[in-house]
Symmetry: D2
Amino acid sequence: MKRIVISTGGGDAPGLNAVIYALVQAAHSRDWEVYGSKSGYLGLLDTDELVRLTPDTVKDITPTGGTILGSTNKGNPFAMPVKNLAGEIQICDVSDRVMKNFKRMGFFCHIAVGGDGSLEIAHRFAKEKGMPVIGVPKTIDNDLEATQLTFGFDTAVSTATEALDKLHSTAKSHDRVMVVEVMGRESGWIALNSGISGGADVILIPEIPFDIQCVCDKIAENELHGKHYAIVVVAEGARAKDSGIIHKSDEKKEVGRQEVLLGGIGEWVADRIREIADKDTRSLVLGHLQRGGSPTTFDRLLALRFGAAAIRVAEKGEFDLMVALEGGAMTTVPLAKAVEKRKKVPLDCDKIMTAREIGICLGDFYRI
Amino acid sequence: MKRIVISTGGGDAPGLNAVIYALVQAAHSRDWEVYGSKSGYLGLLDTDELVRLTPDTVKDITPTGGTILGSTNKGNPFAMPVKNLAGEIQICDVSDRVMKNFKRMGFFCHIAVGGDGSLEIAHRFAKEKGMPVIGVPKTIDNDLEATQLTFGFDTAVSTATEALDKLHSTAKSHDRVMVVEVMGRESGWIALNSGISGGADVILIPEIPFDIQCVCDKIAENELHGKHYAIVVVAEGARAKDSGIIHKSDEKKEVGRQEVLLGGIGEWVADRIREIADKDTRSLVLGHLQRGGSPTTFDRLLALRFGAAAIRVAEKGEFDLMVALEGGAMTTVPLAKAVEKRKKVPLDCDKIMTAREIGICLGDFYRI
Amino acid sequence: MKRIVISTGGGDAPGLNAVIYALVQAAHSRDWEVYGSKSGYLGLLDTDELVRLTPDTVKDITPTGGTILGSTNKGNPFAMPVKNLAGEIQICDVSDRVMKNFKRMGFFCHIAVGGDGSLEIAHRFAKEKGMPVIGVPKTIDNDLEATQLTFGFDTAVSTATEALDKLHSTAKSHDRVMVVEVMGRESGWIALNSGISGGADVILIPEIPFDIQCVCDKIAENELHGKHYAIVVVAEGARAKDSGIIHKSDEKKEVGRQEVLLGGIGEWVADRIREIADKDTRSLVLGHLQRGGSPTTFDRLLALRFGAAAIRVAEKGEFDLMVALEGGAMTTVPLAKAVEKRKKVPLDCDKIMTAREIGICLGDFYRI
Amino acid sequence: MKRIVISTGGGDAPGLNAVIYALVQAAHSRDWEVYGSKSGYLGLLDTDELVRLTPDTVKDITPTGGTILGSTNKGNPFAMPVKNLAGEIQICDVSDRVMKNFKRMGFFCHIAVGGDGSLEIAHRFAKEKGMPVIGVPKTIDNDLEATQLTFGFDTAVSTATEALDKLHSTAKSHDRVMVVEVMGRESGWIALNSGISGGADVILIPEIPFDIQCVCDKIAENELHGKHYAIVVVAEGARAKDSGIIHKSDEKKEVGRQEVLLGGIGEWVADRIREIADKDTRSLVLGHLQRGGSPTTFDRLLALRFGAAAIRVAEKGEFDLMVALEGGAMTTVPLAKAVEKRKKVPLDCDKIMTAREIGICLGDFYRI
């Protein structure tokens, strides 16, 4: 009987459990045994942390958030922080221990569900240690160039859109500007999609460095038309043009007189609007709400398809690949290419055009 | 100043108002005037039923269901039922009146949002009367071959999936089989997508004529594994293999000893399961719940993109076209081709494979 | 160490798992052991069907629908259908076996969560067999006189209201009358609450026998005011005044020329409206959607409070009681009184007044 | 024909539009005319800001958030900030102008929907100026002693509970402590209800000054039981015992070495947990999400009942009263008493007992 091991790694994304469900069911329908490695590679480091996964253990998990394999950020086996006898933390390469356990357990394939960090580690296991690995892409940010879409993204956008829907009525009742900071790392997908769907007045994305004066011009124009409130969506990675501000995450690189963003870019934008546009302005960081909750029907289906596709690839005996969505169908790309490039919002795509045409300010220009 | 007229026709689909919003905003950003024709072509037959649409009249409509242009099934101007003086209904061709009003109002373009029926009429106006027409596809059934996706579909699938989520717990608590009939006309998209995402045990679609015994075998297998309930999703267009049953809608064609389906295919399936599998079985028709409600964020974005794209096509002066989604981007197809072919679920697509691999019975074969 | 047994019985209600959670946690905080009897009394008939419940087994169940104790309709130990050696079904009194197991397991209390049927059985065990029983009321219909509210009701009303919200837009777009049949047995609570909140034009409840002509008058009045659609909410127990129609459930009592309601009262009302008001009319039965899904925050809190309160009563050593909500606080009533009387909608309550005053027809009178 | 004026004032609460709907409909059913004063008293200061409200203008507003009467915080007519000719802001008493317009328009009653601030102003108009006023209570915080419940509260609690549901899965997947700050002013109702329903480990409310060490003990106990995450709900008004910390809002009273809470109490708690319990901890402020969105079915019904009840009181010619919910029925209390006292969570209520019994730490004591 064939036996595989699966793991989930990196930040949380709604749909992880649906992938696990499909992996277990599709393996079961081929009479394969499935083991889950808890907390990323922990189960491969310590076989006590391996769990047998059967149709029974995964029943009813598809609609749930999180991952039944537990905490997802427990380190890289090629550079693992380990406490030595003196109680000090040392960085050790424990990848051989992983391989030894992998072989000892008789696994013929490791299916790694993860973001770019986890997929890079998976690829290293394939290349350097000869592990037969298949990757399943996971990011709520939709920023992997190698796949058209990733699960978790639609749920994150839905959560952000619902929040915008709620803020509309209250912003309007109080003549307020509401600034909402959403996730997305260095890409503007969550901000752009939720902002368009949720009726934002302004959307600021990393791909378009913004001019805060344009933002305030848009708010002023609203006033001219009798609309005394505004909704501003800011991607966490958005930056002001020529502002010299730097993010908290860049702190190490800080130089000279630059302003450090301790409270996040949303708060910074809100402060500027308060000053320049003289409007009652509130900011809100959606944060981990975007990573939680039951996946949308769209994300469940996509996650289930990814899971089943990974088993099909394993059956064919093809490895060092990532399953991907291309032209609406399942395909594969080499793992090496999978993590090579982040997907940015192209400035000439029809979503950007749509945003501008329906009157949304993207921070780069605005006339009253 | 340029002036256009827009109309919505056919069955209801969540996202119609988002299309209208984008049409009005994108036209406004080009300084065009927009008029809406109420109830399909009614506004073009009787200009009292034309309404001026401005950013102000469409504000806040994106998240709402229905269409602000009102009832959508008021007939085909080429064959309109009209009462004569004697009070009898006669079928009249009033298309010339439509064209006269179109010209008199100075419209340079008609943007028709509708399903295959409405788009066919729009194409006839283009071909026979020379009306500059652009179509926007609308169907919750996702059954238009000419576009990758249509708005309304994701919302309908979400509604069906939520219903399945609710029925799971109650089916389980009562050891029941729940049969849920969903929409989709002659295509199985809604049934397939919602059934996979919603954890159905059985999915019956028009593309795969089903054997009721296979359905009962799957239910019996559930029992063997200690699962005393089942969820069966039936597309309204599903048919039993060799059963001689006919739908209510086929009544005119009825012959011989065939069984007529008065209560819908879902009820028929439930009756058979009760007889053959001897299980407490309930059926539910989701019906118009699938056409109502606020569009999902996915459908809002798609609808807004369709609307903005239609205005871009109008600006280029290209007509007798339908906007479509292709490879994730907006494109156009000739209206003549747009309605030519219904999109069926391909039997070799990865969704079908996924369904089978995760243990869902599609009604064609099943072993215990 | 003290040891209790808990059971859930009767129809499904969102919140059952929250009650179980609170029972287990509140018992655990007193160092009591808790066992769950599967499928009502099954675990007390056959101790293999008893499960040990700990904080670990109930973690995360509060937001889930259904009951982890499984199927809830497995009969009355005082009159249990049992197969004899000849394979025939005989009705046996197995209540002594229940008591024997109860004592053998060392339980000092049985907490029975259930509707009027289950609570009646529980009371009989208390009275006839001396079992120390505490009841927790459960009905989505809110029809128990002895408690101000029951869990499950708010969720059922929410589900019905959401359905009405969805139907509004589609009814309006198609100039249709939508008739929605909701649950409630012989009480109109679900219909009244959801109908008022969901903007119904007509609400028909068992407490007010209706005149179908009044219903049609209301629909005609809508037309006069330019509203070409209507939403009609019908409680499953509603009856027409002097109509001679009888429900399917009354079939045995059928006499003479009465019309038997095979399709439910909703369908009957829809048929009459189609005939009399000559409107395109569709009917929908919400059915088990009302019993499923995650409980609302309101129902979760109420269910958790009921559970914790039952443990407090057990601690005081008081039995043959039901916990109840009275004046916003937890109290108890004798089990004998608990099931004595169904709670009907009082015709002079402010909800009825509100309905009439905001223009809703209750089926008894209407002027155009 | 009788004529009334209505106004909405103070912070936003879901259900305001439902009150307006019921006021207009119930007045219409008595053939009264209704005017709405925009932005609180603005319409009574400047009759251009009065709008005629008819069944047509309020149709479909019940399920919407916000208030169609627009921005709600435009000041107190007894102390209105007004710009003089020199451009300076002066505080003026413009209450006589309000009364003059009230009489000139022929209003026989003013129905003021608002929180304690607005109701106090309304009462002053009744007492000092003889205005026939009826109040309708509005606060999402549920902190009015004079009424059992207020609309908006159930929606706010639902929003908070949904957020907790979402955070659970992601907290668990990342072994994190999530601290969520919710609204409620000086009362703990929102925190307590949402925290119990949403499965919080710790709930901190103003009524129980907390010891941060107890909070960390609870988190440590979770770890002992293999639960490596925790959800902490903090009411915005919660204070640490003997901590000497003060809120931003108390800044003027700041003295000595006290620590000023710039980021809110949630952030303060998160910082302490990070230090003391050494856990990866994130904080989130739900903020205005709690004031927005479509009201729950519960809040819609309550708001509609309040509206209809206010019209009934007006019909009887009784004024200087507030409508209230008492024992599940509509009643009235003198406006003077209505705003006298804030409703706190009683420390001996069964909700507090339930919280403790199901293992929730309330910050006052905890043993490992």
